[in-house]
């Protein structure tokens, strides 16, 4: 006869007798649904369970003693595989250590980290792109990410004069005006101050204006990590800048621009038009994905300017100046200016236009044979939400609309998916995003026809990945 017994979770009883005495209390021992036991039956079950528990403890001791020896046969698992495969997968027929031993305790690592088997998933530099590591960029491994949130440790990096881990207790934010009349009362806020104020938490993408910049003229890099990896997306938490400006008594009629300035050596500065601040979208953030900002991303305070290129999201934010004209800073005069045919530069190019990329399958990967695959990727727009994403597997001749996975948010990454059965023939994979304004992501030819090939910045062209008969996927551009 099978007797089912269900016990409350909790520490095992110290004594059988005590358990026995507690048996009849409701909630301490739940009766099996298909058998109602009488008191004698419960005692018999408890006695068996106690016996079984001792056996279990004896068994655990034996396993611990044998643990060293157990590794020896494991080493031959691969050799055994061939003979074992006839009967089944040795990964299933031979139980691994984690099925037969004791795992690790809680809080082994007080701030946990990814599996050691995920070591290939790293942000990386592009060799030869910069000569220094302090004025450089690392790319997020988009090919290995799911959904829309970038794990904070994989967020792309861009530093201008090296990163710092700033002590938040000594950090200050000052708001002042370019003249005394624009801001009535210049103010200083500590982190304690800012974290007392009403906060907002919003998901937004951040993309460097130079993302995909190496590909303006021709194919230059092999994988989507390097073509599109100056892109990340997080939930940011902080205080709307409009609220802070109002607390200082800003003259919004004259003060049509704000300057964000960092506290690091570069003291990076960028101009943000007041329209964006007045919309309520711009905020000063201290939180990112449930934790504080990472040092590489501006801890303890950065500006969040949704839809605008990353350079304007000033890190280590120490100062906001309100003024009546743009500031022409280094990174809006010497860099982050887009060279057009004819030799004129576009200045203050800020908005990140609608763009998308297939992250799987993508360059540098190999399909493991014909059959079903999910085509998956990311789409985003600096002008609002993504309305639609189309996918082509024939180089743009024919398109199918992909599924947009929720959430679909304004100025945020959107994950798209499309089912695909690969028949083994060469294919050219492309995605094309359309945003809420109706703007359609252009192909390389359409973009170059207007902007040439020397802009460096704001390349939002359709990406093409070629699937070869071997299953290898590489980066190509079409004429």
């Amino acid at each position: 006869m099978r007797i089912h017994i269900f016990m409350n979770a909790g520490p095992p009883p110290a004594k059988e007798g005590r358990l026995d005495s507690e048996c009849n209390r409701p909630g301490r021992l739940l009766r099996a649904p298909e058998n109602f036991l009488d008191a004698a039956g419960v005692r018999a079950v408890v006695a068996q369970a106690g016996q079984g528990r001792r056996d279990f403890i004896r068994g655990a001791f034996a396993a611990a003693v044998a643990a060293g020896a157990a590794t020896a046969p494991r080493a031959h698992a691969a050799e055994d595989a061939a003979s074992a495969m006839a009967g089944g997968d040795p990964a299933m027929l031979t139980l691994p250590a984690h099925s037969t031993g004791l795992g690790q305790p809680v809080a082994t690592d007080g701030y946990g980290r990814p599996s050691k088997h995920e070591a290939n998933v790293q942000r990386r530099r592009s060799p030869g792109l910069t000569q220094t590591g302090q004025s450089s960029v690392s790319f997020a491994p988009l090919q290995s990410l799911f959904g829309i949130v970038t794990p904070s440790g994989l967020h792309f990096e861009r530093h201008h004069q090296g990163w710092w881990d700033v002590d938040p207790t000594g950090h200050r934010l000052m708001i002042n005006g370019s003249d005394a009349r624009i801001v009535k009362t210049p103010r200083v806020f500590t982190l304690d101050d800012l974290m007392r104020l009403p906060s907002v938490s919003r998901f937004h993408f951040i993309e460097c204006g130079a993302n995909t910049g190496m590909e303006w003229g021709n194919v230059a890099v092999p994988t989507c990590q390097y073509t599109h990896g100056m892109l990340s997306c997080s939930e940011f938490t902080g205080v709307p800048l409009r609220l802070l400006l109002e607390m200082c008594g800003v003259d919004f009629r004259r003060g049509r621009f704000v300057l964000g300035e960092g506290a690091d050596g570069s003291s990076m500065t960028r101009t943000v038009p007041m329209e964006l601040v007045e919309s309520g979208e711009v905020f000063v953030a201290y939180g990112q994905n449930g934790e504080m900002l990472r040092p590489e991303n501006g801890y303890p305070l950065r500006l969040v300017v949704p839809g605008v290129q990353g350079i304007s999201w000033v890190k280590y934010l120490r100062r906001i100046e309100v003024g009546d004209q743009p500031y022409g800073s280094k990174d809006e005069t010497l860099h982050y200016v887009d060279l057009m045919p004819g030799g004129q530069h576009r200045q203050y190019t800020s908005t990140q236009e609608c763009k998308s990329v297939i992250t799987a399958p993508s360059g540098g990967q190999r399909l493991q044979g014909t059959g079903f695959y999910g085509i998956s990727g990311l789409a985003w727009s600096g002008r609002g939400a993504v309305r639609r994403v189309d996918v082509s597997v024939d180089g743009g001749r024919n398109w199918r609309s992909a599924r947009l996975e929720s959430p679909v948010l304004s100025k945020c990454l959107t994950r798209f998916n499309l089912d695909w059965v690969w028949d083994g023939r060469p294919a050219l994979l492309q995605s094309r995003a359309i945003d809420a304004t109706g703007y359609v992501q252009p192909n390389t030819r359409q973009l170059r026809a207007v902007r040439g090939t020397r802009s460096i910045y704001h390349n939002n062209a359709i990406q093409t990945w070629r699937v070869q008969e071997s299953g290898e996927v590489d980066n190509v551009q079409l004429s």
Binding site: P127, R318, K330, E353, G364, R366, Q368, R397, V473
Partner: protein, 346 residues
Amino acid sequence: MSSCRNPARAAIAAALVCAGAAQAQGRYPQIGRAATPQEIAAWDIDVRPDFKGLPKGAGSVAQGMAVWEAKCASCHGVFGESNEVFSPIVGGTTADDIRSGHVARLDDRSFPGRTTLMKLSTVSTLWDTIRRAMPWTAPKSLTTDEVYAVTAYILNLGGIVPDDFSLSDANIAEVQKRLPNRAGMTTAHALWPGAGGRVRPDVNATACMTNCGPAPAIASVLPAFARSAHGNLAEQNRRVGAQHGIDTASGGAKAAGGDGGGAQALALAQKYSCVACHGVEHRIVGPAFREVATRYAGRDDAVAYLAGKIRSGGSGIWGAVSMPAQPLVDADARTIAQWLSDGAPK
């Protein structure tokens, strides 16, 4: 570049915002405090294109040269021409550009680079950058007069001011009128939200769904020699998944250089800091790679043996100093070992 806003709408918006402002000041009492004049003076260092924020002072080309050679030349070159660490500052501008305000070479595809002076449209930008961010390893350490002097020296290298020039707050506006690319910028584009959304996007694609455009033709692929330029892509993808990374460590690199694997092995030796202790020709702390190659030249299992030794380390074979175990993956160890067993060729 300030916007031509509708005055009536702006007045209403301003009135609403003012009402909100009055509320905000009252709604969040005892948060933040007024900044002191000293604090504002210490932090408000920006200089605008109209020179608002520019402190009084002066510095000559000659003074600038002295500061430059002591604190700037190691990164930027004696004449601001260096491309070693950062992009060149000086070069590519002409006397004609100073007259026209447009740098002609920005439209010359055969001209290789874009220097700072080719792009610089506002001299305040140069002054402000030097003041806030230079020298690179000791930003904000120059005096106001030194900032004027270094700015003057750079402008002199570009032929914008004469050798005996002294730049000051009094004459900087005159210098602005001689900047080679002072008329080289436009804000008439849809990517500047400060334009109030009045400019339409410049690229207008349509979303055709079937039988679109010409048959696709591939115009650009990654050249074979660049296949492994970003490392082994197999190690840049998760070990499980719908797709795995392509192994670009084997085969690709050799086909690339035809160099006997030397470039790849040496790149790995650099990556894992082997070269801190081993020279190719000369011993440093450990034996030269060429010595190792010679010793094991006749050994059949040299690749496996050396790959094992690289990973496990060892002592006693080459002298008293032991080599610690190296944490590199087997494929990389074998690449180096293969190169050693081939005689460590160039």
